[in-house]
């Protein structure tokens, strides 16, 4: 069975349990299979209309809402991002991306006032690079967007940093999507290798707690340029 046939029988529903589980496992990282499944979902979707609608019992919505509220309570005490495994995995990828970007920069441009540190900020889910940070001295950094990110009207992007040994991340202020920003670091210790930078989605006026509370939009760490 080729992948398109596998996708078609997965969507149709005729795969046995083990094969269904295999497909669902592969869908997490196999983009071509995901596209094939998606195409079959779209093709066959109109057939869902053949099942007559059945009004749910009155309790069902209340049950769903109760589950949501419980999940919210648990989410009130989130794991701080610097303790999340996914973040560190992402950073490994960001480090690699930074190396590649640097190699490209070194190749393209002769050394004129090179930055001493470069950080590539990537999205935690798909590791897509979103911003680059350049620091040509240790007191000032430039945040350069690689695209324009969509931010909901009532939200803002907040810029944070944390070096090894710091208690927690420190805010570097709010950032407009698509804006190139120069940030002085004079209130902080000099930029250090491996220093973390991230952008989180916060209330329009910034995080109410002074620490990141919203989802991470991009994250990376400083790589020294030789």
């Amino acid at each position: 069975m080729n992948d398109d046939e596998l996708a078609s029988e997965y969507v149709l529903g005729t795969l046995p349990h083990e094969q269904r589980a295999d497909v669902e496992q592969r869908l997490r990282h196999d983009a071509p299979l995901r596209a094939a499944v998606q195409a079959w979902e779209q093709r066959l979707l109109p057939l869902t209309a053949l099942a007559p609608p059945v009004p749910p019992s009155a309790q069902l919505w209340r049950r769903i809402e109760r589950t949501l509220n419980q999940a919210n309570k648990r989410a009130d005490k989130p794991v701080p991002w610097w303790n999340l495994l996914a973040v560190w995995r992402g950073l490994a990828a960001a480090g690699l991306t930074a190396t590649l970007v640097l190699a490209a920069l070194l190749w393209i441009r002769p050394p004129i006032a090179e930055p001493t540190f470069v950080v590539v900020l990537v999205a935690p889910q798909d590791q897509a690079p979103g911003w680059v940070i350049q620091a040509s001295d240790r007191q000032q950094i430039q945040l350069i967007p690689l695209g324009v990110m969509h931010v909901p009207a009532d939200k803002a992007l907040q810029f944070w940093t944390k070096a090894d040994g710091w208690q927690g991340p420190v805010s570097l202020g709010l950032v407009k999507p698509g804006q190139t920003l120069s940030v002085p670091l004079d209130k902080l210790p000099p930029l250090a290798p491996n220093q973390l930078f991230e952008l989180t989605l916060e209330d329009a006026s910034g995080s109410p707690t002074g620490k990141p509370t919203g989802p991470i939009q991009a994250i990376g760490r400083a790589v020294k340029v030789l």
């Binding site: 979902e41 869902t48 209309a49 009004p55 919505w61 949501l68």
Partner: protein
């Protein structure tokens, strides 16, 4: 015709921002249809409601990761529900009397809101031999396994598998 206007993508964006009311609007709009889809497959009312409950929780938690470039938001909500139901029946080797009077499939024409989009699949299904068309519908709508379809149609298992494989290939070509 309010069906067409429901903005699934805006609804998922609002869910991703933590807006319970957005999920409730989706529930009010689609819970009957989703329960219908789940019930056809699991054939147990309480189990079908469990599936719809789980589907809404999954939609809520997955809303922030939903990528409209990968397909329609509406399709995703229905797929989540169907696959939860399918996983349930494929997981537990079910032993339901298939000869029980199984209600007739509702005529597609009753569901006006799907008419435009569904035209192509129905045109293509109509080109299949009736027994093969039944295979596809029993699998997709009723969640039947190969052997359940073979039992229902009184056809050999190998034949049913081949029919399904060829029918899917024919549908793919017809809808290309």
């Amino acid at each position: 015709m309010a069906e067409i206007i429901f903005d699934y993508e805006a609804c998922l964006l609002a869910c991703a921002r933590g807006d319970h009311r957005a999920l409730q609007r989706l529930y009010e709009h689609d819970s009957s249809r989703l329960l219908g889809v789940a019930l056809r497959i699991v054939r147990d009312r309480a189990l079908a409601e469990d599936i719809v409950h789980d589907a809404f929780i999954k939609v809520w938690h997955g809303a922030h990761g939903f990528d409209p470039n990968r397909g329609s938001a509406r399709g995703w909500v229905f797929s989540v529900t169907r696959h939860l139901a399918l996983n349930r029946v494929r997981n537990a080797s079910r032993d339901v009397e298939l000869s029980d009077a199984h209600e007739q499939l509702a005529a597609p024409a009753e569901h006006v809101e799907f008419e435009a989009r569904s035209a192509q699949i129905h045109t293509c299904l109509a080109q299949l031999d009736p027994a093969r068309r039944q295979c596809i519908l029993h699998a997709y709508v009723d969640g039947f396994s190969h052997s359940e379809i073979a039992q229902t149609l009184g056809a050999p298992l190998g034949t049913v598998k081949a029919w399904i494989k060829r029918s899917l290939a024919a549908l793919r070509e017809c809808m290309a």
